[in-house]
Symmetry: C2
């Protein structure tokens, strides 16, 4: 059972999940691909040993949700997007709270733990064995985003859950243990510290300026232009001013919205195409590609708020965060976001 521990010094949570040491690739490294497998990847045909490919549905826990053809059956081929519980979850949904441990004695000041309650789900983006977002079709990415919305709307009905982070690990250096392109979702009974910090800043900014911090930043970035990578009817892609990572890319909706799960279906198709093309440029920066993608959306505790603004952050893993970064919390980025935006604009063509 994964355990949630409170860091008494940094006031943040750590999940101790010993079950995750057993997952594929966690110890033995990234499986080498043979030429035959590389060919399969290009055309997207089924990969016999991939647990995310059609025909291997029994390799995953039973599906929670799938978009699938009318005449097909659960946990059988015929799906287009498929959601399953993570086989090596860092969170457990079905836990009985342990007996109250008491708060007496000096140890309880430091040693506070509880079961790591929540949902840890894997969303398989496509049945085709492809390894990049660039290899997806716009329609596939749009269906993926609508499935993410469905899961968020379902999970927020669980009164224990406070927030969900949707993310992607792509490439070995991005922390992926399975190469078939997929997305993950972790819904927790706490709001994670980075989201708490974003919310605190956004609330303070709104209190002072009566305007959303992100809406104001979007206006300032469009005015300057130099960090803008692309713009569609509804979305803006920028390399943020204080980028922590080389070629860090954010995608922001131009219209204010706090919760991703509430955006209208009509907006999803623009978002899907825009995001997919933006990420495809990141995927061209290195071979093999490696990056993380995450969606910052408001906690589940409200329906719509004025001061927070959902957005996507894509952080390429081209450099290694080392001692200074881990010891200080201050990033060193060798590529200015202005130079990064120029490169990404050129790649977009």
């Amino acid at each position: 059972m994964p355990e949630l521990r409170r860091d008494p010094i940094l006031n943040r949570y750590v999940i101790i999940a010993e079950n995750r040491a057993a997952r594929p690739g966690a110890e033995v490294g990234w499986a080498m691909t043979t030429d035959a497998e590389s060919t399969a990847k290009l055309v997207g045909t089924a990969h016999p040993t991939c647990p995310f490919c059609p025909g291997n549905e029994h390799e995953t826990p039973d599906e929670i949700l799938a978009l699938r053809g009318d005449a097909t059956q659960q946990n059988q081929p015929g799906w287009r997007v498929r959601v399953v519980p993570n086989k090596y979850p860092a969170l457990e949904r079905d836990v009985v709270p342990p007996p109250h441990r008491g708060t007496d004695g000096p140890q309880s000041l430091f040693f506070q733990a509880s079961p790591a309650v929540g949902a840890h789900e894997v969303i398989i983006d496509t049945p085709r064995h492809v390894t990049t977002v660039g290899a997806l079709r716009d329609l596939e990415f749009a269906e993926l985003l609508s499935v993410v919305q469905s899961r968020l709307l379902a999970l927020r009905e669980d009164p224990r859950l406070k927030h969900a982070l949707v993310f992607k690990n792509v490439g070995r250096a991005g922390g992926a243990s399975i190469e078939h392109v997929h997305t993950q979702l972790m819904a927790t009974d706490f709001v994670p510290s980075l989201v708490v910090e974003e919310l605190r800043s956004a609330r303070a900014f709104f209190a002072e300026h009566r305007q959303c911090l992100f809406c104001r930043m979007i206006a300032a970035e469009r005015e300057q232009g130099v960090r803008v990578v692309a713009e569609s009817a509804g979305y803006l892609a920028i390399c943020p001013y204080a980028s922590r990572f080389a070629y860090e890319l954010w995608i922001l909706p131009k219209r204010h919205a706090s919760h991703f799960e509430s955006i209208p279906a009509a907006d999803v198709s623009d978002l899907a195409s825009f995001t997919r093309h933006s990420i495809a440029t990141i995927e061209q920066l290195s071979q093999p590609t490696a990056y993380n993608f995450f969606l910052h959306s408001n906690p589940f505790d409200s329906v719509a708020i004025e001061h927070y603004h959902w957005h996507i952050e894509v952080v390429p893993r081209l450099t290694i965060a080392a001692g200074y970064e881990w010891g200080s919390g201050c990033a060193i980025n060798p590529v200015s976001p202005e130079a990064a935006a120029a490169v990404l604009r050129a790649l977009l063509g």
Copy 2:
């Protein structure tokens, strides 16, 4: 000129240092070693192309400080520990502050930058071409620590500098670009966010309990014992309760002290031997080894305080921080600190 940018959303600093993209290993990867080079490493003989080996002093900027034999000359062989400016600094000591930029207009809300002022120094631990702390001698490590103290005492005389982080990147996955074992120091005109958070917690704990948070934690860890790796007359090594990394190891002085640079010379030899042996166990966990080491010490703004307690943190880089960690600030650790401490105790023998 590296630039310090303030993140308007997370309220932390980012250093944009485009000059660092040019450093060895930053783009082309870790140089492969030949068998001849491996042999040289074992015996610690000079490596003809290593900029940190004796005879190659001209490959680095001029030395700031060195422990060296009486009949030897600056920037020539004969040194035992040698301090030089980082050739690709993320901070610059000699900068003229730019003219005040004004705070009018909407952009200044978001786009605040200043020159990244500070010292970025490299301390070459030994003239011998060895790649691990375990291959150092106790006396070498003790001389290294006393040189670190000297540099901190010198840098705190610069009224612009507020704090210094001393750290090591060991192994390619630890972010090292040069394998010859070395230490770095970055002194900044701000206190980095993780140190600010530690100080805030420590201050709050002291206000409530009239006792140092770390002293109390040391007592609780010794009482439980299960996360204790080793103990000497003056020091305690533990895997902390809320370890973010597998096999994370902290070394804490048992006697309260806020500033590392002020500990008496008599304590340094116990610390050197204890730390070196503790780190040598971390170096046995994987081949090639990869970890970061950092020293958290109080900012320069005081001489001794009751509520903060300097300490060393060693974070092995056995797993990859991925999308959830970078997006949430919440770590997932697949090895409990209790299990990790048992393994490290066994390795210590």
